[in-house]
Amino acid sequence: MKQTLLASMIALSALAAPAFAAAPAGLDLVQPISDYKIYVTEEVGKLVSETQAFTDAVKAGDLATAKKLYAPTRVHYEAIEPIAELFSDLDASIDSRVDDHEQGVTAEDFTGFHRIEYGLFDQNTTKGYEGFADQLVKDVKDLQARIDGLTFPPEKVVGGAAALLEEVAATKVTGEEDRYSHTDLYDFQGNVDGARKIVDLFRPQIEKQDKAFVAKVDKNFATVETILAKYKTKDGGFETYDKVKERDRKAMIGPVNTLAEDLSTLRGKLGLN
C-alpha cells in the first residue's frame, strides 16, 4: 500500500499548476469580426451566383457542366459553414446528407446539394432534378438575405474555426461527405480555408495571448494545406477522394485532430463566453 500512496502523490503533484488563461483585457474584437462579415458576405455572394450557374445547367439538362460545377460551387458554402449553420432550417435544406434521412434518397425532405449530387453522379442524370435545382437557388438567396441582416455573434465567429475542423475530422477525412461525386477534397479545402481565415483575422489578438499557440496552429495548417496541394488539378480543382493515398490521409489526421483540439481553446483564449 505504501507504493500506492506514493503513486497517488505523484499523480497529485502532476496536477499542481492550474493553468488559468490570462484574462484578456482590452482585446479589440470589433475589427476582425467586421472583417469576417465582409469575407462571409463575399463568399455567400459567390455561392449565390455560382449556384445559379450550377442549377441552370441542371435545368438545361447539361449533365457535363452540372457535374463540373457541383464541387467548386459548394466550396463557398463549406467555407462559411459556422455562420450558415446558424440557420438550421436552411442548412438542412441546402446541405443535408443522405444519412440524415431515415428514408434515404427517397425521403421527401432530402433536398439541396447532396440530393442533386445523387442524381448527377449516381443516377447520371439531371432529369427529375429541376425542382431540387429551383429550391436550392431559392434557399441560397434566402441565406444571403439572412446573413445580410445578421449581427455576427463574436463567440460563433471565433468558435467557427474549431467547428470547421470538427467538420473535417468527422466527415471529410473519411470521404463520406460527397459519396457520389468523391469531390470531398473541395469541401475539405473549403473548411480549412474558412478556419484559416478566422485564425488570420484574429491573429494579432491571439498572438497577444499565446505566441507559441499560433505557431503550432500555423504549422498544422501548413501540413494539411501541403498535402491537399498535392491533389490539386491543373484546372484549379481537386482529384477525387479515392486518389488520396492512405499515407497522406493518415498524415492529415493528426494535424486535423490537433487543430480541432487547439482551436477549441480559441474562444477561451480571447475571453469569449
Partner: protein, 435 residues
C-alpha cells in the same frame, strides 16, 4: 502490480478486491446480484453502489499490470495507428501515455482550467477520478517495426501480422494496429473515461483503428474452502477452466513472460505476446443445439464445467483411458486446445477473455461473442499452435472470428524515471531518447 504479487494471497485479494460480504454482493453495481432487501430501497437514478472504486494496481513493476492480475468485470481493447512523424514524436507518444496511465490508474482530482476553455477531463467520473481497479496495458504491433522509426532490428522475433485461419472472416477495419491498449476495470465507464483521456491527450499521435468492449458477469462470493469458479462465456460454458495458475510466478515466468537471456531482443525481457481475437458466436444456432451435443463439442459439462469423466470444473481432464474419444471426442474443443500429451504443456497460454455484445446483424441475429485475449511468452508455440490444432473443430460451425491482431506487450515501468516503451527506444543504436 509487482508489489501486490509479493503480498500473501489473502492480503492481495483484499487490496485488489476490497472484499467484504456486502461489498462483494454489491460490487459491479447493476451487473451484480443485489440482495433483494436492498434492491427495493433507494430512488431510481441513484448510482449503483460499489465499495471497490478505490481499488488500484501499482503502475510501476517488472511487468505491466493487466496480464496476470485478476480480470475485473469490464474489459476493452483499442488498437491504434501511430501517427508519429519521427522518433522524437514516438518518444513523446510513449511519455504522454506513461503520464496519463500513471494518473488514470492511481486516480486523483482532475485539473481545473478557466471555464472559458474546454475542460481537460471528460468529467464522466466526476471531479476526482477513482481508479476503480483500472489497468491500461500497452502493446505494439508488428507494423510499428516497419521503416518509419528505425525499430526494424529490434522487432520481437515472433511478432507478426495476424494471418487469417481457415474459419476466419477477418474485416480489415477490425484488425491489426501499430499499438494496442487493453483497458480492464470494474466498470465500462472507467475504461471509457481512460480511453477518452488518452485520445484527448494524443490527438496528433494516435488514430483509433478499432475498439471492442466486453464484460464478464460477476458471481456471488464463494464460500470458505470453495474454489472460485471461472466466468461463463456467451455459449454458456465456463471459460478458462484449464488456464495456468496466474498466481504461480514460476509458471508465469515459463509461459507468459519473455525471459532475460532468451533468443528475443534483450529489451523485450519481461514483456509478453498478446493475441486478440474478436470471435463472433452464432448464439441463436447454438441455443437450438441439443445439450449433449453442446457438451460433446466442448468436452465439458455445461452446468458444472466438469470434464466428461466427471468431477468438478477443476478436475483435470484425463484422456489416458479414452484413446478412441468415446467419452471426450478427439475433436472436442478442450481436447484439441490442450491434448495433455507430453510436450503440449509448452503450448499453454494465459487466457483473459471478455464477452462482447455489439448489436444486431442484418439478418436479425445478435452480434455477440468473445473478445478473446491471451498472453504467452512465445506466440508461435502459444496461440498460433493452439489455434492450428483447433482448425476444423466442430465448434467452428458456431464461431466466426472477424477481427483482432497480434501485439507485443511492453515490459513494465521500473520506477519514476522510467516510462513505458523506454527500453524499446533505447534498444536501437541511433536512438535519440533523451533519458
Amino acid at each position: 502490480m509487482t508489489d501486490t504479487r509479493d503480498l500473501p494471497s489473502p492480503e492481495r485479494r483484499r487490496v485488489l478486491f476490497g472484499l467484504g460480504a456486502a461489498g462483494a454482493a454489491l460490487a459491479g453495481g447493476g451487473l451484480g446480484c443485489p440482495m433483494l432487501a436492498q434492491a427495493n430501497e433507494g430512488k431510481v437514478t441513484e448510482a449503483p453502489k460499489s465499495e471497490r472504486t478505490e481499488d488500484r494496481h501499482a503502475y510501476e513493476g517488472v511487468h505491466q499490470a493487466g496480464i496476470v492480475t485478476p480480470r475485473p468485470a469490464a474489459g476493452m481493447v483499442v488498437a491504434f495507428d501511430v501517427l508519429a512523424n519521427d522518433r522524437a514524436d514516438l518518444e513523446r507518444l510513449f511519455r504522454t501515455l506513461d503520464e496519463r496511465i500513471r494518473f488514470l490508474t492511481q486516480g486523483g482530482p482532475v485539473e481545473n482550467l478557466d471555464p472559458k476553455l474546454p475542460p481537460p477531463d471528460s468529467g464522466i467520473l466526476g471531479p476526482v477520478v477513482s481508479p476503480d481497479n483500472l489497468t491500461v496495458t500497452v502493446s505494439v504491433g508488428a507494423s510499428l517495426f516497419d521503416d518509419r522509426y528505425g525499430l526494424e532490428a529490434v522487432k520481437p522475433r515472433r511478432l507478426s501480422r495476424m494471418v487469417g485461419f481457415p474459419n476466419d472472416a477477418l474485416e480489415e477495419d477490425r484488425c491489426h494496429g501499430d499499438l494496442s491498449l487493453q483497458f480492464c476495470s470494474n466498470t465500462p465507464d472507467t475504461n471509457i473515461h481512460a480511453l477518452r483521456d488518452i485520445i484527448k491527450a494524443l490527438p496528433d499521435l494516435l488514430f483509433v483503428r478499432w475498439k471492442q468492449e466486453g464484460s464478464v458477469p460477476p458471481q456471488a462470493p464463494t464460500k470458505p474452502g470453495e474454489l472460485a469458479q471461472n466466468a461463463r462465456n456467451f455459449l454458456g460454458f465456463r471459460d478458462g477452466s484449464a488456464n495456468p495458475d496466474s498466481t504461480d510466478t514460476q509458471a508465469m515466468d515459463r509461459l507468459v513472460w519473455v525471459q532475460p537471456g532468451s533468443d528475443e531482443p534483450a529489451w523485450a525481457a519481461h514483456g509478453s505476446y498478446q493475441a486478440v481475437r474478436v470471435i463472433r458466436n452464432f448464439v441463436e444456432r447454438w441455443d437450438r443445439t441439443p445439450l449433449q451435443e453442446q457438451e460433446s463439442i466442448f468436452g465439458r459439462r455445461k452446468a458444472s464445467g466438469a470434464p466428461m469423466q466427471g468431477g468438478d470444473e477443476f478436475t483435470l481432464p484425463d484422456y489416458s483411458n479414452d484413446p478412441q474419444g468415446k467419452l471426450t471426442r478427439l475433436d472436442a474443443h478442450i481436447r484439441l486446445a490442450n491434448p495433455r500429451t507430453p510436450g503440449s504443456e509448452a503450448n499453454l497460454i494465459l487466457r483473459r477473455p471478455f464477452n462482447y455484445s455489439n448489436g444486431v446483424n442484418k439478418n436479425g441475429q445478435l452480434d455477440m461473442g468473445l473478445l478473446f485475449i491471451c498472453y504467452q511468452a512465445d506466440l508461435e508455440q502459444g496461440f498460433i499452435t493452439v489455434q492450428r490444432r483447433l482448425n476444423g473443430e466442430p465448434l467452428e460451425e458456431y464461431l466466426k472470428p472477424t477481427g483482432g491482431g497480434y501485439f507485443f506487450t511492453l515490459p513494465g515501468v521500473r520506477d519514476a524515471e522510467d516510462f513505458i516503451g523506454r527500453a524499446l527506444l533505447l534498444a536501437t543504436p541511433h536512438s535519440n531518447t533523451t533519458t
